[in-house]
Symmetry: C2
Subunit: 301 residues, 2 copies
């Protein structure tokens, strides 16, 4: 298969440029703090506008371009997925869950504000994600908007992301490789799948056209998770902007604890190649998507 | 205006019968606990299937009938609003908010399970509310489904219900009558408004047809809140199924603390009459809606 070779550092620049557009979209769709409820609106903005690579919106934009979808639409879907992703981080960081004080190099929302405000800001970010998708500016077809909402609710709900989070919280030392892959596919993989399927949904593509992007997203999710777990072992809080070494401290099984650093890295490399294969003919049309798995393999934050 | 006089106790029976249909719908749309994520699904069911009058779905059903909408549709919207209402109770009961141990006569979700599970079950109930609305079984028109989703997100989001909750948590003794009415309109009134507007939205009625039901809902919301606050002063935990006397303990201003028991009761009676007036010609077509404000005035739980 012909894949376009991108110059070194191209993807770094493309991701940074995309993140700026996503941030501008988020700034436009998030409420301006006003009135007596300003505190929860400030906390929504604090949690969301903390930087980050905006990888999920990047996937939405490039999967959407494959189907001729305008950026103005895919950026709104990107803003919705980022609002939803941020809510999950705010709630996961709470004392009753991971009890994290640091996120993206800043105090977590419940530290910067308080626990009550963090719970409510997370709730409001989850709510606004669906509000953004339901808006006609996201797509003129209400059928498309409902399809996005249904897919996102499924990806993020009780048997998707939330299911993965509770499995993670209840996980024990007996978890094996398949258990960890299932849990991570729910907890982080489902939002990657949504992000990649959003393109064909926005483009009203045939169901067949979604299969390749879905398979790509599944492997990308594993690559992302393994490299995240590797950073937890090998990196510093300064680089990642969050606490590291937590998995080992909590006796949590990951593909790194189960396969070792080298074994996990090899698995990630295998998945990265498989992800590109799954793209099929889209690989040449979307060099950013083909390059992304290898970008993740090399990331240091 | 001609209003149909319902026999005494008619409404009691009608509400109970409606609640049974709503419960059956909720049972069908909520997930059956399965797999490793079963715990969060059990907590969703525990929180939702705790009885209750299902007043919001009752309003959806009767506002929908005015526009010839089939019960099978309005019951699904009723299930969605009840899932969303229940999420707000689960999160409001958390230690970092109202810290309540008792709800509908049973331990609150974070007591029966744990705090982490309660946060996630609330998140999952909020998510499934939008999933139910996005499903084609709720209405064949995706435009209608998107209108419901947009209205519910607005009603329950950062400047609606969540906004009301944060204002309530930050409220001080200097709150006056107008402040309390504004906060309660957001915190509880918005979901009543959604419930009454859902009928005309489902029936694809003209915007004008929504105005009367919206005004009705606003006054119903105040009647509900005043009678709730009166119960907090005059009733027992045994009857209400939740802790009473909390408003006074927490130094919280309500229309009862500000106007006194008699003053608040008079205000509720005034609002009940005004609610029925707002119904206009719908009052005769929907005797259940005309009777509801007076039913609320007499309630003891």
């Amino acid at each position: 298969m012909d894949t376009v070779q991108l110059p070194p550092d191209y993807l770094n620049g493309a991701i940074a440029a995309s993140a700026k557009l996503v941030d501008a979209t988020l700034d436009a769709v998030l409420p301006q703090p006003a009135g007596r409820q300003a505190r929860v609106q400030e906390a929504m903005r604090y949690a969301v506008m903390a930087g980050g690579k905006r990888l999920r919106p990047f996937l939405v934009r490039h999967s959407a371009r494959l189907f001729g979808v305008d950026d103005s639409r895919s950026l709104r879907v990107g803003a919705a997925i980022e609002a939803l992703h941020t809510y999950s981080l705010v709630h996961d960081d709470l004392p009753c869950m991971d009890d994290d004080d640091l996120r993206r190099g800043r105090p977590t929302t419940h530290i910067a504000f308080d626990e009550m405000t963090a719970v409510l800001a997370g709730d409001a970010l989850l709510t606004i994600a669906f509000e953004i998708l339901a808006d006609a500016r996201t797509h003129p077809s209400a059928d498309v908007r409902c399809a996005l909402i249904a897919r996102l609710a499924d990806a993020s709900g009780h048997s998707g992301m939330i299911g993965g989070q509770i499995i993670d919280m209840l996980a024990d030392k007996n978890f094996g490789v398949d258990d960890v892959i299932d849990l991570q596919r729910r907890k982080t993989g489902q939002l990657f799948e949504f992000s990649c399927e959003a393109g064909p949904i926005l483009g009203q593509a045939a169901a067949d056209d979604r299969a390749g992007l879905k398979a790509y997203a599944q492997d990308i999710g594993v690559v992302f998770q393994i490299t995240d777990d590797l950073l937890d072992v090998t990196s510093t809080a300064e680089k990642t902007g969050k606490a590291v070494g937590k998995d080992a401290d909590m006796g949590k099984q990951t593909l790194v604890t189960l396969l070792g650093v080298e074994g996990a890295r090899a698995e990630a490399q295998k998945r990265a190649r498989r992800a590109v294969d799954a793209l099929g003919s889209y690989a040449a049309q979307a060099p950013e998507l083909s390059a992304l798995p290898f970008f993740l393999l090399d990331r240091d934050s």
